[in-house]
Amino acid sequence: MNWIVFFLGSWVMMGLELGLRDGLQLGATGAAPSFVLLYLVFLALSAPRSTAVWTGLILGLMLDLTRAMPAANGLSVVTSIGPMALGGAMAAYTVTMVRGAVYQRNPIAAPVIVALAVFLAHLVSIALLATRSWYDPSVTIVATTEVAFSALVAGYTALVAFVVLILFGRAMPLLAALFMFDVTPSSWRWGQTRRMGSAR
């Protein structure tokens, strides 16, 4: 994988993640699609397993460092390094495990993997923060509410993935080539395989 392209892509995706949330959030729920995790799934569908896990750690760390949870007493903010980094790593690992079983021509396949990965990443993060809340009075978390919220975010991100695939599906091979991924039809998992196959 081309790491320079990866970091440039991470920068752009963080910009979209933080910048588009206001416009795309679902009313008062605060649920918005995660472009960074969408990007992670795109990478994990093609990168070698250990590379995918490293990208999960890095992208998750970026999300951790831009997150500020108000403390339980409302007098400070808590920054925690690790919950989303580990969530991202777990999501990337899972994607590399299931990618071989994905039916490539099914347009729903990639969005379903996105939903699974986003939900899993949040689940790991919630589990760690819930564990910490047992002994750290600054961190309070209602796990059931957070899980429901994560399901909403996962579904919404999957929907965005579906739209992105419809709009930019034809550009995916070009993007994959930029990352130095294998773009042969047999290894390609983001749809459009028929067109690529006929081109060969």
Partner: protein, 286 residues
Amino acid sequence: MAHRRNTGGRLLTIVIVLFVASSLLPTKWSRWAGWFADPMAFFVQPIAHPVMRLTRSLLPKPAEPEHDNPQLRELTRQRDEVQLLYRQSQLRINQLQQQVRDLQSGVPVAPGAHVRQLWAPVTARSSSLRDGVIRIGAGENQQVIPDVSVATSLGVNLIGRVIEVDSQTSWILPFNHSRAGHITGVVIAGPTLEESFNCQLHARGDGLLTGDMVADAVGIEPGQTVRLRDDSWPASAQMLILGRVVHVDHKENQRLVVVVKPNVAPDRVSEVVLRISESADEGATR
């Protein structure tokens, strides 16, 4: 080759173990994590901020017919400013009268508020919108002080309290956040403070506030302005507008319950005016 793979795998394991450890560290031992947040903000802001500004400019503005006419908008802004000064003057007179009474009885009182106003852009929000906190582009270098500085819209509508300050940025907890706690407001039911009644408000979780009015409250109607009058907030925040009454209900004991909607949704502002008390001892008593 196998050796390189082993080294990579071992490094990955070590990093994962470190992340597990730092995730589970209590806050008092993990304050260092905040040191990395500022460089991260510096890294992502050049792209996140323009995207956010563009998004906000494309979002539909709240339905306010006055916004169509620039002259009317300016007059409304001036009216709100004059009203704020008027209400603060009334409060100041009341405080001075109380001070005179206290001095006559030998009780020491706090001096008056000296406020400095500072404009700051909203640069980001937490990567999880449910956290609700807002990051602004002013910090220690601009003498922003946590708990003593409050953020407003146009200097008259309260947005929230500064709770954490870095060198260049600060975090604000909106007043309608569930973790902001109870807040005492005053519903202005008449032209003077004599026709105003206190209410104890708390966040409902959907951006609105609700709470009980004092027992002797009369003449409370939807549309009336609610202002802050809470000693746990800095002097510079007193009499700032919290919002308007949108619903009035009666409890079984006949006490009135009001629902208040903020005039300006804190999660929609793109810039704030900070009101900073000039002496730290004017801070909240919270």
